[in-house]
């Protein structure tokens, strides 16, 4: 287990650093940014390999997530630097799953796996 300071929101989240073999849609995950290898980003997993999703502001309107990749999005659409900007993320960049917010104390909570209904994939390869 380890803690991470989330730079763009000033919160400290607890991460479980495991070898992620089981990755499910709607988890919040921490990954290395594809654009800047020094930076770590926390986003929500929206789609797994083989799923077809409709994108928001990406260069292609519909994307089938390639093998070995995932589609991540921030919860605040339009203000998030996520897969809609840089495309699907390779699973090798995945580092950990964010489970709890530790700081500030008034934001103590368990991060719930939740997929916004309007962001459901159009076609899911594995159920």
């Amino acid at each position: 287990m380890s803690t991470l300071t989330c730079q763009n929101c000033g919160r400290i989240t607890l991460l479980i650093v495991l070898s992620i073999n089981i990755h499910r849609v709607s988890w919040s995950i921490q990954a290395g940014s594809p654009r800047n290898p020094e930076q770590k980003i926390i986003k929500r997993v929206i789609a797994l390999e083989g799923d077809i999703i409709k994108t928001i502001g990406y260069k292609k309107k519909y994307v089938k997530v390639p093998h070995g990749h995932i589609w991540v999005e921030g919860d605040h659409h339009g203000h998030s630097f996520d897969s809609n900007a840089f495309g699907p993320v390779s699973l090798g960049l995945l580092h950990a799953r964010a489970t709890h917010i530790l700081w500030p104390p008034q934001r103590w909570q368990k991060l719930q796996p939740m997929l916004p209904p309007e962001r459901k994939p159009l076609q899911r390869e594995q159920e």
């Binding site: 654009r35 290898p37 070995g68 390779s90 090798g92």
Partner: protein, 166 residues
């Protein structure tokens, strides 16, 4: 008698955990020995060659053009691939095959590298799956250990024409 045996067992477990942690840190942050398989890096690295890779370069961001690196496969995170870095971010690379009549070029995006195997005719590399994020690089191969008649530092790329100067 039992206390003696119990004490010895605990000490053994303690030493095992200590050495396990040191070994893990060494492999993760310093380097390790790698067995390579496949024909994509011939003649520089043959099938079943044993090489030594160091992981410090990627942590300090000193991977250079022409280095041979071990990278997590973009399509399969459980396997590693071994290729040569042809272009860093911002470099111009030739994306077409040598046998193509019309050459096409593009620039490597920010935070990515362009990888190619030395055996251009038999290598799936960036020409197939595109530029690879820098974060997938695991280590740099610096030294060949086996076979002994090829012991030493690795040769430069036989495909010097693939390195385009800006």
């Amino acid at each position: 008698m039992l206390r003696n045996a119990l004490g010895k067992t605990f000490r053994f477990v303690g030493y095992t955990v200590q050495y396990g942690c040191i070994a893990h840190c060494a492999f993760e942050y310093l380097g390790g020995i790698v067995v390579c398989s496949g024909p994509s890096m011939e003649p520089t690295i043959q099938n079943s060659d044993i090489v030594f890779s160091e992981n410090l370069s990627r942590h300090f961001y000193c991977i250079r053009k022409g280095d041979i690196v071990i990278v997590k496969s973009p399509n399969d995170p459980k396997s590693n691939i071994c290729k040569r870095v042809i272009g860093l971010e911002g470099d111009k690379v030739c994306t077409s095959n040598p046998s193509d009549f019309l050459k096409s070029h593009s620039y490597v995006p920010k935070g990515h590298v362009w990888l190619e195997g030395d055996n251009l005719r038999n290598s799936t590399d960036s020409r197939c799956y595109g530029p690879v994020p820098y974060g997938l690089i695991r280590g740099r191969i610096c030294f060949k250990i086996w076979p002994l008649n090829d012991f030493g530092f690795l040769r430069a790329s036989p495909n010097g024409h693939r390195f385009l100067d800006d």
